[in-house]
């Protein structure tokens, strides 16, 4: 192989167009040619600069598309599309209050003739006032910026603000946010993420990490990453893009990954199912593999779920799944750590976990959950601790009593240790005392809300 051939292969390698045999041959040449090695490094560095230089041009091209689409005016207006949305199992329902959508495909009519006066460089202003909204910024842990289609300016976006088609959003360090789309889908951006919302269910990811909870619909939900497209119909998945590598994790449902590269012996399309992870390197999908720590790898969304309040059903499910992993794997301490990092937001989900059939017969998990509740509970959690005093397991009762003693400075006739061994009648009497104490003193604890009735299971 001569140097000219090597340079061509270096270029092809950069573009993901090199075969395995060519790669081996190239490496053989590079091992003995310092000039080509230096040229390869220079080419890679320049490639990065070119990608950055063309980023605004790509956005401008997308703006061109938006302006053209906005000028395709329908001849007829159809029926309103219902504002209520269906949600796949395990998702939060979102009732969106947006302007109605046309339901019947209209006939295409070009709004006006845009043939340019060739003596001028710019036609009359054809930019639309505003493209239709496809979602809104529902939650954010810090400042989120928006760049609207057809512009180059990034501006702060207020929480609750609407998101027009074609706009891009980005987050800075330590900022996470959630977008609710018109179809009920939820899209969450991790820190340092940039994402373009091309259309209602079409996203384009530049860099960062995005979690999507996709509402079921007939039209596909697609996310374009570098040289590949991820498609889902109704699912939860996470995408992490860094440089040439995209990691897809599917938490629920399934997704389809399609490469944009020519098939050169590798498979261009892969299906990734719940509990699986797949890496896409420069547009080439690898093989899906099963993983057990999806809750940990997507724990960044917990910060957003915490913003939704103590009664977040999704947070409860995540804590449930984390608690179920305690004691299952060598790294189960990581799951316990993750739950503890939620602070008192984990108290309700863990209490329900202890009381449900899901933890039946799994004493180690129940004990661990009770210890966490005892350690992180805040005053508003007192009613939940009182509930746990009636558990059939002495360790659970004892942990609950320890939490109550910490929060109130009292123990109502039974010490923490005695809750393990005292006979049932004595325990029942003491539990009633605690309930009476709470009714008498709860006004001293602002923010406390009465505990809803627990499921009828696991009572002493």
């Amino acid at each position: 192989m001569d140097c000219e051939q090597a340079l061509n292969l270096l270029s092809a390698r950069l573009d993901g167009e090199i075969s395995a045999e060519e790669s081996v041959a190239l490496d053989g040449h590079l091992a003995g040619c310092a000039d080509c090695r230096a040229a390869g490094e220079a080419m890679a560095a320049q490639h990065g600069r070119l990608v950055r230089a063309f980023a605004p041009r790509r956005r401008s091209a997308a703006g061109v598309a938006d302006r053209v689409v906005a000028n395709l005016t329908p001849r007829t207006r159809g029926r309103w599309m219902p504002a209520t949305l269906s949600a796949a199992a395990g998702f939060l329902l979102a009732v969106m209050l947006f302007q109605p959508w046309r339901h019947t495909p209209p006939t295409i009519v070009i709004k006006h003739d845009l043939t340019p006066d060739i003596s001028s460089t710019r036609p009359a202003d054809t930019r639309p006032a505003e493209l239709p909204a496809i979602g809104r910024l529902a939650l954010a842990t810090g400042a989120v910026e928006i760049c609207r289609s057809g512009t180059q300016d990034w501006k702060p976006m207020e929480t609750g603000g609407t998101l027009p088609a074609g706009a891009s959003l980005r987050t800075g360090p330590k900022v996470r946010c959630e977008i609710r789309l018109a179809d009920g889908s939820e899209v969450r951006l991790n820190e340092r993420t940039e994402l373009r919302f091309t259309a209602a269910r079409t996203l384009e990811m530049a860099e960062g990490q995005v979690w999507s909870g996709v509402a079921a619909s007939e039209s596909p939900f697609t996310v374009a990453v570098r040289r590949a497209t991820v498609t889902a119909l109704g699912t939860q998945f996470d995408l992490l893009c860094h440089g040439e590598t995209t990691t897809l994790s599917v938490l629920d449902g399934s997704t389809r990954v399609k490469s944009q590269l020519a098939a050169d012996g590798g498979s261009a399309e892969k299906t990734v199912r719940s509990g699986q992870v797949l890496e896409i390197v420069n547009g080439r999908p690898g093989e899906p593999s099963r993983v057990h720590d999806l809750m940990l790898s997507t724990r960044w969304v917990n910060e957003i779920l915490v913003l939704k309040g103590r009664d977040s059903a999704e947070l409860e499910r995540r804590v449930d799944d984390l608690a179920a992993q305690i004691g299952e794997l060598k790294e189960s301490f990581l799951y316990e750590q993750e739950i503890r990092s939620l602070g008192d937001h984990c108290v309700v989900p863990l209490t329900r976990f202890i009381q449900s059939d899901r933890s039946k017969g799994k004493d180690e998990k129940r004990h661990a959950a009770a210890r966490i509740v005892s350690d992180v509970a805040q005053p508003w959690c007192i009613p939940y601790l009182i509930e746990l005093l009636t558990d059939r397991d002495g360790e659970v009762r004892s942990s609950a009593a320890a939490g109550l003693q910490r929060l109130t400075g009292t123990n109502q006739e039974l010490s923490v240790e005695e809750w393990q061994t005292a006979p049932p009648p004595q325990r029942q009497k003491c539990a009633r005392s605690w309930q009476q104490w709470w009714e008498k003193h709860k006004d001293q604890f602002p923010g406390a809300t009465p505990a809803p009735a627990p499921p009828a299971a696991q009572k002493a």
């Binding site: 340079l7 061509n8 270096l10 270029s11 573009d15 167009e17 220079a42 080419m43 560095a45 320049q46 490639h47 990065g48 600069r49 070119l50 950055r52 230089a53 063309f54 980023a55 605004p56 041009r57 790509r58 956005r59 401008s60 091209a61 997308a62 703006g63 061109v64 598309a65 302006r67 053209v68 689409v69 000028n71 395709l72 329908p74 495909p105 209209p106 006939t107 295409i108 070009i110 845009l114 043939t115 340019p116 060739i118 003596s119 460089t121 710019r122 036609p123 760049c147 512009t151 180059q152 300016d153 990034w154 940039e194 091309t198 259309a199 860099e207 570098r226 944009q260 020519a262 547009g283």
Partner: protein, 188 residues
């Protein structure tokens, strides 16, 4: 859905079909215009006009499967008309707007002096891209405007994938030489 199907639906009056075609081809059409004109601003205007002309001319498209190359042909002719109408044909420095600050994403951004240097480098790089010989400029712009594969580029340009590879390599080499000392192997 493939282009041919979308063309069929668009001809049947379904606006969403042509919308999809527009979004699919906007970047490549803009790349054609930018490469032909050497100017980003005029390129966007002509790309927009091309996409609308494409809709009007859809009934004349003989092979719906070749929508993309056909549309790029319209773009090329629009650029030629524009150039013949008396606009400058020489490549000019593109005035990268302040939005090119986005090209610095990932940089430290804290040191204002570094940001300025990087912005100037990006501006100079784009100017050199616009000064490349036409065949190299065209393939490089197509590649960086959208993540095209060699096969897709070959289909668009009417050459082989090997030729695409060779032209991209040559374009990159010329850029490195023209950028000179500022293009260090490990620098950003």
């Amino acid at each position: 859905m493939e282009d041919a199907e979308l063309v069929g639906e668009a001809r049947a009056g379904k606006s969403h079909a042509y919308e999809q075609l527009v979004r699919r081809w906007a970047a490549r059409v803009t790349a054609v215009c930018h490469a032909r004109l050497g100017r980003a601003d005029a390129a966007e205007d002509l790309a927009q006009e091309t996409l609308l002309r494409g809709l009007r001319a859809l009934p004349t498209l003989a092979d719906p499967a070749k929508f993309g190359p056909w549309l790029c042909g319209i773009a090329a002719r629009a650029c030629l008309d524009w150039l013949k109408a008396g606009q400058r044909s020489e490549v000019q420095l593109s005035s990268i707007p302040s939005g090119n600050a986005e090209a610095l994403a990932g940089s430290d951004g804290v040191d204002g002096h570094s940001d300025l240097q990087r912005r100037e480098e990006i501006d100079r790089l784009m100017a050199e891209v616009e000064r490349l010989p036409a065949s190299y400029r065209e393939v490089l712009m197509h590649y960086y405007y959208e993540d095209c594969t060699y096969r897709e580029l070959a289909g668009l340009l009417g050459v082989s994938a090997a030729t695409v590879n060779a032209r991209l390599t040559k374009a990159r080499q010329m850029l490195r030489e023209r950028m000179g000392a500022g293009q260090s192997s490990g620098g950003r």
